[in-house]
């Protein structure tokens, strides 16, 4: 008998995402996929799934869930939401078993925006154009081309490893105010020197116009040069910082438009997309320019970090286990000085 996840309640921006949809940019369809790829990979690694397996992404919200037809091992990673299992608080970045009859409750995160809920075995949904990631504008992927809502039932695949233990991982970092690194271009020449100085020297904040398509930023206006704010449309990437005539920058993200007619002053480096995505409306955003080589180095470092996650996960130990291990290693510790 297969296990079903039942949605008792969830926020409006609750979607199914996998690694994303490739190959359709030339037709106007952006890739979608996780807003925080590191968190998505960590949650999947914790339950023994492939790191790009379909998982549930919450945006500034949470939900309540139960399972039918058996139990499932699950894990949450990313923005820190308070999580309870039948009223008992459990931690992030660890796996836990949700048994039939029990209720999982995830509350809105205090810090960060996107949280990934991975389920051992993964969610069974028919791929649309090679992916189950929801692209809301195109009504593609997800459950019938829409976000999840109360009453939805998701079939789960059998876990890859049965009867394994719970695991934990170091939490993925969420920072609120360190600079987001950018590479200048492609149209930095359409801005005055003071316009570029405004981008790199100011503190912006994430506006309430922020979703999976892009984040509009509040703050000082960025000045265009003599040629103005209109260009003949050209291609965008995840991280393109486009500046329309208003001078208010918009960072384009996973579900973005694939082409646009506003000049793009700079591009957020791929490794920092998740850091920007995790800033809540009202959080500060500063930009720092790095050379392309540095952006490439960071992307490669991130790929290594993600690939290492399955091997890095460690069996989850309770406090007594950890105390015993510490003593075995020869570092005598008493129960009172052992820090949780």
């Amino acid at each position: 008998m297969s296990v079903t996840l039942v949605v008792l309640e969830c926020g409006a921006a609750t979607t199914v995402q996998d690694g994303g949809r490739r190959g359709y940019l030339r037709f106007g369809l952006s890739s979608s996929g996780p807003m925080d790829r590191l968190a998505h990979a960590a949650a999947n690694a914790l339950v023994g799934n492939a790191i790009d397996a379909p998982a549930i992404e919450f945006g500034l919200s949470g939900g309540r869930f139960r399972v039918e037809g058996g139990s499932v091992r699950l894990a949450l990673a990313g923005a820190r939401c308070p999580i309870t299992l039948d009223g008992e608080q459990i931690g992030h970045h660890r796996s836990v078993v949700l048994r039939e009859g029990a209720q999982l409750r995830i509350d809105r995160p205090r810090d960060g925006v996107f949280t990934t809920l991975a389920l051992a075995g993964g969610i069974v949904l028919p791929p649309s154009m090679g992916s189950v990631s929801l692209h809301r504008r195109a009504a593609l992927g997800g459950l019938n081309g829409r976000p999840l809502r109360e009453g939805d039932r998701l079939a789960l695949a059998p876990p890859p490893v049965s009867g394994e233990a719970d695991h934990m991982l170091d939490p993925v970092a969420i920072d609120r105010d360190q600079p987001i690194r950018v590479v200048l271009g492609p149209q930095e020449g359409r801005f005055t020197a003071s316009g570029i100085e405004t981008l790199l020297g100011s503190i912006f904040t994430v506006s309430t116009q922020a979703d999976r398509m892009g984040y509009q930023l509040d703050g000082p206006r960025i000045k265009h040069g003599k040629m103005g704010a209109d260009i003949v449309s050209d291609g965008t990437v995840a991280g393109s910082i486009q500046v329309p005539g208003s001078g208010r920058p918009i960072v384009l993200l996973a579900d973005r438009q694939t082409t646009g007619g506003y000049p793009k002053i700079a591009t957020v480096v791929s490794a920092d997309l998740r850091r920007l995505a995790q800033r809540q409306p009202g959080n500060p955003v500063r930009f720092a320019s790095v050379p392309l080589e540095e952006a490439v180095r960071l992307a490669r470092e991130r790929a290594v970090e993600i690939a290492a996650l399955p091997a890095l996960r460690a069996p989850l130990l309770d406090a007594a286990d950890r105390l015993r291990l510490a003593n075995l290693a020869g570092n005598a510790v008493d129960a009172f000085s052992f820090e949780e």
Binding site: L25, R26, S128, R137, D234, G235, V237, G260
Partner: protein
């Protein structure tokens, strides 16, 4: 300062753009499509996908597999080496119901140009268009070849929602919209043709380089054509094969 085209523009660590110019021009677009075809044939390692536009080609790459700066130099060299013109695309005839509730800006566009609505229809439907790019939203087909006498600035205030299948013009561009979205363009008509339809083969009816003509169609035929299109029929007629 004069710009040397084609040139390489940085788009972070996952892409770069080869820019051939900054105008809307059929010849420029043909060069973009020629480079696109050349890359499809060459299959450079680390190249993930390409996005042709009116006047540039954005190349997406995997920075783990390849140094984007190095790949950019390789592609730029190909762009400068001289490109064979792309083989002609397919030709389509697309039915359009003009005016009335289907094209609410037809009369204001006519008024703007001092033409009758029928003259606007004749000029729009008389054009031979080329799909210069698909972009913005899935299946949005941007066409070159609009009669310059129809060109006019976009509306000062965009509309919050325009219907799927909208046939519109803005500046010197003509557009076939695939899905409902906000738009600041002038709405001349609507087509029942689904340019983008998941589950249908092909999912995207048009490709960059395809030729398009519009066929004025009576409003009385809308319901039947729309039903056929919803059931997966192309409704657009292929006229080159």
């Amino acid at each position: 300062m004069t710009l040397q085209y084609p040139r390489l523009l940085a788009c972070g660590d996952t892409a770069f753009t080869i820019e051939f110019g900054d105008t809307i021009d059929a010849e420029l677009n043909a060069t973009v499509l020629a480079l696109d075809a050349k890359l499809a044939e060459t299959q450079l390692p680390g190249l993930v996908e390409t996005v042709p536009t009116y006047r540039s080609l954005t190349v997406h790459c995997d920075p783990v597999a390849v140094d984007p700066a190095e790949l950019g130099r390789q592609v730029l060299a190909l762009a400068r080496a001289g490109l064979r013109p792309p083989k002609p695309g397919r030709s389509w005839r697309i039915p359009v119901v003009y005016g009335g509730e289907f094209g609410i800006d037809l009369s204001s566009v006519a008024q703007h140009h001092g033409l009758s609505p029928d003259e606007v229809i004749a000029r729009h439907a008389g054009g031979e268009y080329r799909v210069a790019m698909l972009g913005f939203l899935p299946g949005y087909a941007y066409l070159s070849g609009l009669d310059p006498a129809l060109a006019l600035p976009r509306r000062p205030t965009p509309r919050a929602l325009t219907p799927a299948g909208t046939i519109s013009i803005g500046g010197v561009q003509a557009l076939v919209a695939s899905i409902a979205a906000p738009s600041g363009w002038h709405l001349l008509g609507r087509t029942p043709v689904r340019i983008f339809m998941p589950g249908r083969e092909p999912t995207f009816l048009l490709q960059p380089g395809d030729a398009v003509r519009f066929e004025p169609t009576g409003a009385d035929r809308w319901a039947a054509l729309d039903r056929a299109a919803a059931a997966g029929d192309a409704v657009a007629e292929r006229v080159d094969a």
